[in-house]
Every structure is written in C-alpha cells, then in structure tokens.
C-alpha cells in the first residue's frame, strides 16, 4: 500500500467551543499518539483528509505525516474517525503513530467477491459473520482489504480465518473464527410464502401474542385499576341517592 501525504498542524486550543470554531474554519480536530511518544493535539486540513479517506486507501491507509518543525519519516494509521450521525461531517480523528520497520497489528476489512452457485440458483445465500480480521505485517505490506472469493463454494461450506491467505503478513485473529458461510434459503422461502398469504398476521414474530390489538395488562394492573374505580363508583351512587 502506498503512503498518503497528510499535513498536520499543532493545536493549542481545546474544548467544545474551540473545536467548533476549528471545524467551522474547515479543519478537523485530531489527536496523534503512539508508543514512546507524548500524545499531541493536532488539527488536519478537512478537505484533504476527506479526499484521502474516500479515494486514497480509505480507513486502512497509511499516512505520511508532515508538520513544520517535525522531522520527516513519521507514519500513522487511522484509529478512529468520529462523524456526525446526520450530516456525516468528520468531528474528530485519532491517529496512531507506528514504527517504520516493525510489524503492526491492524484490523483489515474482509471483502466478499463473486457469487456462489447456491445464491445464483436461489437455494442459499452467503452469510458474512465477521467483517474484519486482525493481521500482523509490516506497514509497507499492509493490504487494503482481504478478499474472499466465494465462486467455488457450495451450500453448507464455511470459510474460517485460517483459510485466508495474506501476502507478507499473518492472521492474528483466532484461526477458528468463522468469516462466512453459505446457508440454505429455506427460512426466506417460508417467510415470503406466509407473508403473501396473510400479509400482516402471518408475519408476526413467534413469541408475540396471538391477539390483534394491545396485550392485556397484567392481572395486578387490572386489580389496581378496579380498586381505583370502586371508590368513584361508590361516591356516584351516594350522590344519586341524595
């Protein structure tokens, strides 16, 4: 994987309001930490970082850090990107500085490619259990993703972490970790068939009560409700008598 250049600037301010002003100015508050170095508050150029994230390797990219006054040769990995849930704006970034010549342990995404025979005929579908695996390798040979080809798989086949092959690295995750499996689609057939017959009632979950409207309140609640009503009823009857 190639290195992505990233300009960083030291950040002296902290706190909610200052960070809000930083974002309004088109920069992103971030933090840089690593083994054997003090944690530093920094800020990134917002647009450049967004481009790097989208087009230049994504979340598993390695960033070559450039800062005025800092010697060259520092590289870092993305540890976390916090985004606003609605506007999708980047709120904060965590960067982990890594040593150049030593292996690092990184979680890499698993990409599923191709389609198996079972999913083509509609007899089954590929169910992905784990979306990422931890691998250990040198920063230079860190793959963007681990590809799993499911073209040859048959119904009932499973792929475990030990079946994955990574050039220049090794899997750190549990070898028996299930990555994906090809499962029969019988569940979906039943669901569709029943849903077509009775669109609303048949689709109710197994555990739900059979009645249509609200569930009846608990017996205790009923008693309480009755107790509350009784004094009122008595009063009304007394008033009528008078």
């Amino acid at each position: 994987m190639s290195l992505v250049n990233l300009n960083i600037h030291p950040r002296t301010t902290a706190g909610k309001n200052e960070n809000r002003r930083t974002r309004a100015a088109g920069r992103v508050p971030a933090v840089l930490y690593g083994k054997g170095r003090p944690t530093a508050s920094i800020e990134l150029e917002g647009h450049a970082f967004e481009v790097a994230l989208k087009h230049l390797g994504g979340r598993s990219a390695i960033f070559q850090l450039h800062q005025a006054g800092m010697e060259e040769g520092h590289i870092a990995l993305l540890r976390e990107v916090q985004r606003h849930p609605v506007s999708d704006m980047i709120l904060h970034v965590d960067l982990l500085e890594i040593p150049q010549g030593q292996p690092v342990v990184v979680a890499v995404h698993v990409h599923v490619s191709g389609s198996c025979a079972a999913s083509k005929t509609g007899d089954g579908s590929v169910v992905v259990n784990t979306n990422s695996v931890e691998i250990s390798c040198l920063p230079r040979s860190l793959p963007e993703f681990v590809e799993v080809d499911v073209t040859e798989l048959q119904l009932g086949d499973k792929i475990f972490a030990r079946d994955l092959k990574i050039e220049g690295g090794e899997i750190v995750s549990d070898p028996d970790l299930l990555i994906l499996s090809v499962k029969a689609a019988s569940l979906f057939v039943e669901e569709v068939a029943s849903a077509e017959a009775e669109p609303v009632e048949a689709a109710a979950p197994k555990g739900a009560p059979a009645q249509k409207g609200m569930p009846t309140p608990k017996a205790d609640d009923k008693k309480k409700a009755d107790d509350k009503k009784k004094p009122d009823d008595k009063k009304k009857s007394d008033d009528k008598k008078k």
């Binding site: 994504g58 979340r59 598993s60 990107v81 606003h84 849930p85 609605v86 995404h109 990409h111 999913s119 509609g122 579908s125 590929v126 169910v127 992905v128 979306n131 993703f145 689609a185 979906f188 057939v189 669901e191 569709v192 849903a195 077509e196 669109p199 609303v200 689709a203 109710a204 979950p205 555990g207 739900a208 009560p209 409207g213 609200m214 569930p215 309140p217 608990k218 609640d221």
Partner: protein
C-alpha cells in the same frame, strides 16, 4: 406485529423527541442500512410493512435486521368522549426515532437490489431516510 410480551407499566408519557441519535447510528450487522433523517414515531404496522416490502423485493436472498423496536404504548380516547375521566386505553405501539438512527439493515444482495428494496421500504415510513453502507468500504 411487533410488541413487547409484557411491560412493567401499561401506559407511558408522550415525551418529546430532541437531538440526534448518538447510538445505533452506524451499520453494525449488514452491508447496507436505512438511516432516518427525521424524527418521529414508527408504528409496529409501519415497521412490519417496511420489512415485508424489503423481504419481498430481495426474494430469497440475504438477511434483514430490524434495529428499532416498537416498545412505547400509545393511548387513545374513544370517539365522542368528553374530556377527563382519565387517560385513554393503549391502542398501538411505536418506536421512537431520532435523526441518524439506522432502522433496518440488509446484506447478501448487491447494491442495486439493496437500494431498490430499501427505497420500497422507506416509502412506508413517516419521515425522510437515506441508504447508507458499512463504514470503511
């Protein structure tokens, strides 16, 4: 339709929906998700209609996860009833949704099928939504 098996209390305050979803705002189980852009209540009927629309379009492929659950009882007073005499009877169940909340997730289908299925499902919902995919891919 979805509803709790048992509840501690029969009736609940109406409440107000403020802010955005800070939890359940990312795709966690599937490959694609339907994210709410507005706030409101989703009734159990709407949720069921959404699920059926999506599963029918996906036919026999893939999986569906519902990320919201209608656990809030809504009461109504009977028609032509004078005000007072206590709170009405529970009539239906809703899920409270804030902007950013992922409502439904799917996987096992390609992007085109997923978009079409989620758009069909989104038509059953009372606010705007968008299709999002798993972060980092």
């Amino acid at each position: 339709m979805l509803m709790p098996k048992r509840t501690k209390y029969r009736k609940m305050f109406k409440g107000r929906i403020r802010g955005v979803a800070t939890r359940g705002a990312t795709v966690a189980f599937g490959d694609y998700g339907l994210q709410a852009l507005g706030s409101g209540w989703i009734t159990s009927r709407q949720l069921e209609a959404t699920r059926i629309a999506i599963t029918r379009h996906m036919k026999r492929a893939g999986q569906v996860w519902l990320r919201v659950y209608p656990d809030k009882p809504i009461t109504l007073k009977p028609a032509e009833t004078r005000m007072g005499k206590g709170k009405g009877a529970p009539e239906y169940w809703v899920a409270v949704v804030r902007p950013g909340r992922v409502l439904i997730e799917i996987n096992g289908v390609d992007l085109a099928v997923a978009k079409e299925a989620l758009a069909l499902g989104a038509a059953k919902l009372p606010f705007k939504t968008r299709v999002i995919s798993r972060a980092g891919e």
